[in-house]
Symmetry: C2
DNA sequence: CAATTATTTGGAATGTGTCTAATTTGTTTT
DNA sequence: AAAACAAATTAGACACATTCCAAATAATTG
C-alpha cells in the first residue's frame, strides 16, 4: 500500500481489524501516522491533527497512541531519552538513528542476520528485538 | 578487574585516564557505578551516594553522569521511556531487557553475529549499535 | 594572599506523559 | 423519541526526570 493510498476510510477498516472502535479522533490520529509514513512523537501527532482547527485534546492523543500500540497497530520506538516515537510500520524492522538530527530511518529486517543470542532463562520469552544503529555526520 | 577490586583510588585513576578532574563527588559517583557493576539510573546513583549523609546534589549527579558519558567512561542505555540507565561496562555489548521488572542484563558481543546492515549514506559514520532483546515471563 | 577558574549547589523551570472527575457522544431500551 | 447506560473525550491538575541558572564554594595560579 503506497502512502497516497491511505485514506480515512482505510483507517476505519484498519482500526476495526485491530478491534478498535473507530471514532473521529482515532481516525484522524491513525491517518496522521499512516499517511505521513514517518516516525512521529505525540506532540507532532497532536500538531498535525489540530492543524486546521483544534479537534483533539492532549489526553486523547496519548490515550490513543497507547491504545494503538497495545493493539499492535503501531510500534513504539525508544531511542531518544526525552520522547517516544511511534512507527506505523509494524513489519519486523530496525532503525538508523541520526543522533545529530533525531531522524529515524527504517532498516529492512530481511537484510539482517543476527546470530549467537544467548539462550533465554527458563520461563522467559522474547517479546521483540530492537536494533538501533546510531549514526552521525562525519565530524 | 573484579567488582571487589574497585576502590576509590582506582576511581581516581580511571577519572584521570578519561581526562576528568577527580573531585570528591565524581569519585563517589564513579565508585557507586563501578562497585555495583549494575545498570543504575540517576536517582539510584543519588541514593547510593547520599546513603550515609547527604553529600551530593541532584544537579551534580546529573552533570557528572553526563560528563562521564561524554568522556566515554560510562554508557547510556535507553530502553525505558521514563528514565536513562547508565552502564559502567563500556566494552561493546548488548542487553536483555525484562519488560516486567525493568531488569537489564548484559549480552556479550563476542557471541553475536550481525550481518547485512545496509551501507550508510555518504558522510555518515556509525557511532554505535545497540541491540535490545525485550523479554518477559511466560504469560 | 589576592585573583582566577572550576565545581557544586538549591531551587526554579521545562517538557513529556499520566490521572481524574466531569462532560460529551453514541448506543440501547422501553 | 425520551430515558438509561456505556464508551470516549476533555481540561486542567499532577507527577516525574532532567535541565537551567545564578550564587556559593572549592581549588589552583600568579
Amino acid at each position: 500500500m503506497k502512502a497516497c493510498d491511505y485514506t480515512r476510510d482505510n483507517m476505519t477498516d484498519l482500526l476495526r481489524q485491530h478491534g478498535i472502535n473507530p471514532t473521529h479522533q482515532r481516525i484522524e490520529i491513525a491517518y496522521a501516522l499512516f499517511s505521513h509514513q514517518e516516525h512521529l512523537c505525540a506532540d507532532q501527532v497532536m500538531a498535525i491533527v489540530n492543524a486546521k482547527h483544534s479537534e483533539t485534546s492532549k489526553a486523547t492523543v496519548y490515550n490513543t497512541l497507547n491504545l494503538f500500540q497495545e493493539k499492535g497497530m503501531i510500534r513504539e520506538v525508544i531511542v531518544d531519552p526525552s520522547k517516544v516515537f511511534y512507527d506505523p510500520n509494524t513489519h519486523p524492522h530496525h532503525h538508523f538513528y541520526n543522533i545529530a538530527t533525531g531522524e529515524l530511518t527504517d532498516i529492512d529486517v530481511d537484510d539482517i542476520g543476527l546470530t549467537g543470542l544467548p539462550q533465554l532463562p527458563p520461563g522467559m520469552v522474547t517479546e521483540g528485538v530492537d536494533i538501533i544503529v546510531r549514526v552521525r555526520p562525519t565530524a
